[in-house]
């Protein structure tokens, strides 16, 4: 009996702290949770300073979002009459409800930031080329998925921000050539923002988009493994390739003449030496858990001290003044506010130019970049001198977006006029 329990426990737990290399490798095969890790991982891939573990941190936030999100579903009612009230209940009537909502909110904003920072890391280390181009594309899809989850998520409280963001957002969609009005009609489930809209965005937010993002996350991580680990190993790989050595022939291979050359047991598929690698369990798993716990505690800390914003209940007749998008979309709001152009008698609305064309071009650039990139070396190194021009392009675009965010978030006042952050803003009657 006791032996049985011990065996069972070992089956579940012993691989987490293996006593030998052999146990560590066996753990990967035997344990369900570990089997999607490689048996061995290069020390460079595990380095804190190379990857900064931004992808793992973003994935950790997505775990937190999934768990807190499912818990919020127990209290939230996706109806225009009750949605706002159920958020108020979460804040004032449900024990720790506010904490739960805060954590969901800060994890969501953190995920947007970390997904972008992870992308920047991959770009600056030139880790998106060759076989890794596919995973870069998956990453771009994940960034989009994260943004769509954010957008559908902040509609749900049915407050003023929600209502006007969705009004403006779907009006931007309707500016798209040909399909625009139809897209808006399907998104809203009619011509106005209403119950159908809320329900559609709710289902997208709690099931459809998370399911797609989870599948892509799993594929994203699997591809890291299939591409031989992080690009950080490429300089080492090149080094190992440059030093050819006579591989020992094993008896069976040479005696039976099964295959010429070295045996499969000698050359690792990663092209690295045995000494370059360590067992995934516990070296990789321990760090992943450490990252998860750090990220979890940071969101918890934020949630204890800063409350998630909630504006007044949705009022279809009065727009808040100014009505501002969350920081990760406010650069688009800033763009659409001055990109309307008049060419003779033709007017192109800012909704089309700043809301669809500019983001569309940025997205196309992200998708095409790995294929336009001609450089062959400098993979897996931060800010390689050979990539100076490419990195400059990325930095400039990022800086422009950050400047637009700063202008939109801090310098825009009532009626979207420009004010210095310290200059007084006119006090206006709230409702006409």
């Amino acid at each position: 009996m006791a032996g049985g329990i011990q065996r069972l426990w070992r089956k579940l737990a012993w691989p987490w702290s293996p006593a030998s290399d052999r146990e560590a490798s066996e753990a990967i095969v035997r344990n369900l949770w570990l089997h999607w890790f490689p048996a061995k991982v290069s020390g460079r891939s595990l380095s804190w300073s190379y990857s900064l573990w931004l992808g793992t941190a973003a994935a950790s936030l997505f775990v937190i979002l999934t768990v807190t999100g499912v818990m919020l579903m127990f209290f939230y009612v996706p109806s225009t009459e009750r949605a706002y009230g159920s958020i108020k209940d979460l804040e004032y009537a449900v024990s720790f409800g506010r904490l739960l909502r805060n954590q969901h909110r800060w994890a969501a904003e953190g995920m947007v930031a970390l997904a972008f920072m992870h992308m920047a890391r991959v770009f600056f280390t030139g880790a998106y080329r060759g076989s890794r181009a596919l995973n870069w594309l998956v990453g771009v899809a994940l960034l989009l998925g994260t943004l769509m989850l954010s957008f559908t998520g902040y509609l749900l409280p049915w407050d003023q921000l929600a209502y006007w963001a969705i009004t403006v957002g779907t009006n931007i969609a309707s500016q798209a050539p040909l399909v625009g009005p139809t897209a808006r009609y399907i998104l809203l489930g009619g011509h106005f923002v209403g119950q159908q809209t809320l329900l559609r965005f709710y289902v997208l937010h709690v099931f459809f988009l998370p399911a797609v993002v989870w599948i892509l996350v799993a594929y994203h991580m699997w591809r890291v493994r299939k591409d031989g680990g992080l690009a950080a190993i490429e300089p080492l790989r090149a080094l190992r390739r440059a030093e050819p050595r006579e591989m020992p022939r094993t008896k069976s291979y040479s005696l039976f003449g099964l295959t010429p050359g070295t045996s499969v047991a000698v050359a690792s598929s990663m092209g690295l030496e045995e000494s370059d690698q360590v067992a995934s369990s516990p070296n990789l798993t321990r760090r992943m858990m450490l990252v998860f716990l750090t990220v979890f505690n940071l969101t918890l800390l934020l949630s204890l001290f800063i409350n998630a914003p909630l504006e007044g209940p949705a009022n279809p007749s009065v727009t808040p003044n100014p009505a501002k998008a969350p920081w990760y979309f406010v650069w688009l709001q800033e763009l659409v506010s001055w990109t309307t152009v008049h060419l003779g008698s033709i007017t192109i609305s800012g909704g089309l130019l700043g809301g669809i064309l500019v983001p569309g071009i940025l997205l196309a650039a992200l998708i095409l970049w790995p294929f336009l990139d001609r450089s062959t070396d400098a993979e897996g190194v931060w800010f390689a001198p050979e990539r100076k021009r490419q990195n400059a392009v990325f930095v400039v675009i990022t800086a422009v977006i950050i400047i637009l965010i700063v202008v939109g978030a801090w310098l825009r006042g009532p009626y979207w006029h420009l004010y210095w952050p310290w200059s007084p803003r006119p006090v206006l009657p709230r409702v006409l």
């Binding site: 006007w164 709001q333 506010s337 001055w338 979207w416």
Partner: protein, 152 residues
């Protein structure tokens, strides 16, 4: 000959099953285009003409301005032509809080991203004496309704 017929039949069999599969996806997608909309009508009644003071009155329910000059009435939409926020009347002009569009007293664009002027809606007097607006039909700028004898 025989194998050709078999191949054709096999292709038809598999193809029809696949076609049914695709058609079902299409049917599911079609469900997302609502056939019945529970939306307010585009023609609706406002209040009696006597209710409105001289000048600009905002109707929050219908998101429009009723503008009265003596006995003449006209109606201008309060929905910004840029991206749909509600504009506010500021004594001399309409300003939008979302992206800073500005319109003059007749709804023409002064500055900002709005691509078109604010539309004027057709206005009439219903048999029961209430003002009636058809928000689906725009009228040219300057059109107005003169109410000769006011009921109070």
């Amino acid at each position: 000959m025989d194998t050709d017929r078999r191949r054709l039949l096999r292709w038809l069999g598999k193809g029809s099953v696949f076609a049914a599969f695709v058609a079902q996806i299409g049917a599911a997608a079609r469900a997302f285009f609502p056939n019945v909309l529970y939306e307010p009508p585009t023609t609706f009644k406002l209040k009696q003409p006597a209710f409105y003071p001289q000048g600009y009155t905002f109707d929050a329910e219908h998101r429009l301005f009723v503008i009265r000059a003596e006995a003449r009435f006209h109606v201008i939409s309060a929905v910004c032509t840029h991206l749909g926020c509600t504009v506010q009347w500021r004594g001399t002009e309409f300003d939008c809080p979302c992206h800073g569009s500005r319109f003059d007293a007749n709804g023409n664009v002064i500055s900002g991203p709005a691509p078109r002027p604010l539309p004027w809606f057709e206005i009439s007097i219903a048999p029961d004496g209430l003002l009636e607006v058809d928000s689906a039909s725009a009228v040219p700028e300057g059109s107005s309704l003169t109410v000769a004898t006011e009921k109070t």
